[in-house]
Each structure stands twice: as structure tokens, then as C-alpha cells.
């Protein structure tokens, strides 16, 4: 072997040239080490892949359980929302009927009017906590459509009242009198 700088004859195993001091590139042992480490690394990667596949197969089952439980939760909130919405007119009617029998129930007759807002709040909660839930999305759309329809009907009633009756809107309680006109 010769030195790459001065061409002086170098013995095998020498790290420096005895003539000029140039470092001898000992490629062969390093190359062998690199190749060996590559070979060692490849099986490790294969093992890692195997471990990964095992891990994914093992954890899929808890993920499935989580998906199923989240669907059950959002269905629960949506059903509670629907129950609150339906309960409002039923309870209002019930307490109004009972109020005719006893004055105590007249106080309770007004409280169920909060229930549609509770229903809407529950639907919003379900939509935010479970964004993928189609049930919550559809329920929200239905509530918004019902609200908009209610506003449109109220505006039509106000306009009809103003044109035909001419005196159903008076003072600061105008809005309240419209609503009391609509709902008795």
C-alpha cells in the first residue's frame, strides 16, 4: 500500500505515513463495520414493523370501543334534547290544565317554557363534543329551521295584523302583545 500524498510504501495496519505524516484511510475495517451495522439494523426495522402491526391490531379493539361509546354518548344527548323539546308543550298544557283546578300550578305553568332552550343547548353540546355525529348535526338543523320558520310566521302575523286590524301594536309591549296574540 502506498501513501496517497507522497507515495511512500505503507505497511498494513499503519495509521500514519512514516514519511509525510498523512493519515492513512483504513477503509476496509470501517466498511465492514458499516455493512455489519446495516445488516443488524435491517432486522431491527423488520422487528419494529412487526411490533407495530401487532400493536395496531391490539389497540384497534379499544379504539373501536371508544368509537362505539362516543356514538352512544352523542345519541344520549340528542335524545335528551328531543325529550326536552317535546316535553315543553306537554308540561305547559298539563300545568295549565292543573292551574284551572288549583292556583298553585299557575306558577309552574310558565317554567317548562325554558325547555326548548335546554334542548337547543344539549344539541349544541352534542355537536361540539362529537363533531362527527350526524344525529347532532341533523337535530341542530331542524331546530334552526323551526326557529326561522317561527320568526317568519311571527312577521307574517304582525304584517297581517297591522294591515287588517291596524291597532294590534302599541307601546313598548308591542312585541309582547304580538306573542301573546299568537300564543293566547
Amino acid at each position: 500500500m502506498k501513501c496517497s500524498k507522497c507515495g511512500y510504501e505503507i505497511n498494513e495496519g499503519d495509521k500514519f505515513c512514516r514519511e509525510c505524516g498523512q493519515v492513512v484511510e483504513s477503509t476496509t475495517p470501517e466498511k465492514e463495520v458499516k455493512e455489519k451495522t446495516k445488516k443488524v439494523e435491517e432486522p431491527k426495522e423488520e422487528v419494529k414493523e412487526e411490533v407495530k402491526t401487532e400493536v395496531t391490531t391490539v389497540t384497534n379493539k379499544p379504539e373501536e370501543k371508544r368509537i362505539v361509546s362516543s356514538m352512544a354518548n352523542d345519541t344520549f344527548f340528542c335524545l335528551c334534547s328531543i325529550i326536552c323539546y317535546i316535553a315543553c308543550p306537554l308540561l305547559t298544557g298539563l300545568f295549565a290544565y292543573l292551574a284551572t283546578k288549583s292556583d298553585v300550578f299557575s306558577l309552574f305553568a310558565r317554567i317548562p317554557m325554558i325547555l326548548p332552550f335546554v334542548a337547543y343547548a344539549l344539541a349544541i353540546y352534542a355537536k361540539v363534543k362529537y363533531p362527527e355525529s350526524k344525529f347532532a348535526k341533523i337535530l341542530l338543523i331542524i331546530y334552526i329551521v323551526l326557529f326561522v320558520l317561527g320568526i317568519i310566521l311571527m312577521i307574517i302575523a304582525v304584517i297581517a295584523c297591522a294591515i287588517f286590524l291596524r291597532d294590534c301594536l302599541e307601546g313598548c309591549q308591542g312585541l309582547g302583545s304580538i306573542i301573546s296574540l299568537l300564543f293566547g
Binding site: I124, Y125, L140, I163, G171, C172, G174, I178
Partner: protein
């Protein structure tokens, strides 16, 4: 308001315009804070039914008389913003902040409706800009509704500037400023002929007390 012998629901129109204005402001504010459009639209969809119908229903439950009360509407909107903040939290309570900031705008525009409808009127007054409601008292009155509208819209603009510099304390500053303005302006209302202090003023004083005590407590805790 009568136009061509047809009574026009100006009060309801002003209330609806007030809510539209508040919703537009809330939408723009939250878009600037880079909150997702879906979340903003969901929140705005709560503001109108909860703010408008919610306050009507609560008034009806408490008073058996369906009308709109400023403080009840304010509390319902704040509760709505706190609920949404709990369900879908944002950085620095942005939903609560923007709702608080929109309150003076909402109140200012809705007071125009009161001016045209002839309710919440002021003390008897013969001077400049006095108003006579022929369907009501039929005496010249102070246009307190116009003054409240101007003051609160001005406060809204001022608070927007303050928010740029002191955004940390903007909720407390808004409550203090609006409660103080409401307390002071209430002295010019017709109710003060028969009362020393009105319900609105008592609520304003309570709010001022709670917020100021809270601010002092936070400063002492920080020290």
C-alpha cells in the same frame, strides 16, 4: 310608528337590527381571533334565540308580562357565552369577551326602538329636543332614550379602542363603564318622579360592587 295609517312595528325592527349588529360584530371579532368559522356560526346561532326569546321567556316567568328587560337580556347572553366557553373553550375567553363588548351596541340600537315606540321615557322637560307622545302621557318629555342610545354606542366605540390596549381586563372595564352609565342615566327617567332608586340602579350598583371587589382581590393575590 304610523306610516300611511299602518302601524309599523319599529320597536321589533330596532330589536332585530340590534341583534343583527351584535351578531355581525361577534362574527368579525372572532374571525380576527382566528377561531374556526363552524364554531363561530354555531355560537352566533345561539345568540339570537337565547338572547331574544330567552329574555322574553324569563321576563314572562318572573313578571307574567312578556316584555324585554335590558339586564335580563344581558344576563341571559352572558350565561350563553359562558356555557359555550365551557363546551368549546377558546384562548383568553374570546366568546365571553366579544359578547360583553357587543352589549353596549345591542343596548344602544334597541334604545332607538324604545324612543320610537314611546316607552322607557324621560322626565317632564320643556327644553330643546323634548318629545311628546300623543298616545302616552301627552306632555313634553326628556329624550332619555336618544341620550342612552348615543352614550352606549359611544361607549361601544370607546371600548373597542380600550380593548386594543387593555384586552386582559376588558370584561371588568365593560361591566364597570356600562353599569355606571346605566346608573347615572336612570336618574333622568320618568320612574324617578316616584322612586328614589330604581331596580335597574340597584342592579347596576351590585354589579359595580362585585366587579370592583373582584379586581381588588385579584391585585392583592398577584402581589
Amino acid at each position: 310608528m304610523t306610516i300611511n295609517q299602518i302601524k309599523f312595528p319599529i320597536y321589533m325592527t330596532c330589536i332585530i337590527l340590534a341583534f343583527i349588529g351584535a351578531c355581525v360584530f361577534i362574527y368579525k371579532y372572532l374571525m380576527n381571533k382566528k377561531i374556526k368559522k363552524k364554531d363561530i356560526l354555531l355560537y352566533v346561532s345561539m345568540i339570537v334565540p337565547f338572547g331574544l326569546l330567552g329574555s322574553l321567556i324569563v321576563c314572562y316567568i318572573i313578571d307574567k308580562n312578556m316584555g324585554l328587560s335590558s339586564y335580563i337580556g344581558c344576563f341571559v347572553l352572558i350565561l350563553t357565552s359562558i356555557f359555550y366557553e365551557k363546551v368549546n373553550p377558546s384562548k383568553n375567553l374570546e366568546y365571553v369577551r366579544c359578547t360583553m363588548l357587543s352589549m353596549p351596541l345591542l343596548y344602544g340600537i334597541s334604545k332607538l326602538g324604545c324612543f320610537f315606540a314611546g316607552c322607557c321615557y324621560g322626565l317632564p322637560y320643556n327644553g330643546l329636543f323634548s318629545v311628546t307622545y300623543s298616545s302616552g302621557l301627552n306632555i313634553p318629555l326628556f329624550p332619555i332614550q336618544l341620550l342612552e342610545s348615543l352614550v352606549f354606542i359611544g361607549l361601544f366605540i370607546g371600548l373597542l379602542f380600550i380593548n386594543k390596549k387593555h384586552s386582559k381586563n376588558i370584561i371588568s372595564i365593560t361591566i364597570i363603564v356600562c353599569a355606571f352609565a346605566k346608573f347615572a342615566l336612570d336618574f333622568l327617567r320618568y320612574d324617578h318622579l316616584t322612586k328614589v332608586i330604581t331596580t335597574n340602579q340597584i342592579i347596576s350598583l351590585m354589579l359595580l360592587f362585585i366587579v370592583i371587589v373582584n379586581m381588588i382581590r385579584k391585585k392583592l393575590l398577584n402581589k
